[in-house]
Symmetry: C2
Subunit: 201 residues, 2 copies
Amino acid sequence: MAQAVAGPEIERLIQLLARLPGLGPRSARRAALHLIKKREALLAPLADAMKVASERIVVCRECGNVDTSDPCTICRDASRDPSILVVVEDVSDLWALERSGAVTARYHVLGGVLSALDGVRPEHLNLASLVDRAGNGEVREIILALNATVDGQTTAHYVTESLAHHGLKVTRLAHGVPVGGELDYLDEGTLSAAIRSRTAF
Amino acid sequence: MAQAVAGPEIERLIQLLARLPGLGPRSARRAALHLIKKREALLAPLADAMKVASERIVVCRECGNVDTSDPCTICRDASRDPSILVVVEDVSDLWALERSGAVTARYHVLGGVLSALDGVRPEHLNLASLVDRAGNGEVREIILALNATVDGQTTAHYVTESLAHHGLKVTRLAHGVPVGGELDYLDEGTLSAAIRSRTAF
């Protein structure tokens, strides 16, 4: 950061805002100024919302989701199918799947994927609790909803092996053409997968 | 916003973050999750910094700057030249000029520019107080540091007329090639101005 141009309180606000993903030093200054101008309508409510979040949000010991209750709202939801667990890398993936409305089961958040490059090993992931949950007698299917990246697929294989002794059905998301997608812009791997997994029209 | 997927506390945090400039719904979710993961290191300090800012930041009645004191630090700085006022559109421009270190005088923040399209008229700007300050007997030069846009230049003309009866020296920022700029990428107006205002080498 260049020379401090505003008071220390404003500089501190700018520096903290600049640590948010998607905001650099310049956009953090714009955001800080916007907040100061909308003090009553935005700055004070945001300060309160952050304080509430910082005090009340906990990680669900069951699935690894973040919520204000433990177990989380999803784990406590009796209407959800207890026989299926959807394994995701991160809470953001859980949110994305919830927005789709396609999941009526529960989740398990790994908290990352295996990565030799980043030094992420199995013990760094929320994996032991997944093996425990999978063996609770209720679960019959594990859906691996991991990213279609090298690390995501490596992790999918590792999780499958870790769960092998339970004898469960393990599935993964389908590959194919995204809805609204144009073939011309898709890579060869996706197109091959879409051809191989073609369905009756 | 799509269907709520997290608890109400998290949703409220996401909705407020999405109102910051530069953050849309998707990046607000990413930012919220980042904050929740870095609760001790970022979320709690940011909540505090926002609370402090919301309680202590005031607008300087002298110049329109934002600071935790009124008059602001710049207006109270006795080492600054009281004979020059630098007129800017917004506090962000004041910050930009302070970063350059080129201003050793004081500022006057208009709080906008005249705009027929947006319905901004002279009485919406911090203009009456500028006319007062300019007539305090100390001020001898007004530097118009307004954006080189149509609205900025219209405002510059209006301010000059409003100050005409004081008989002060009124100047504006030089037009020319930005430092590090390539001629090939500059518009004709900038190049013409740079040729007209050429200086001895």
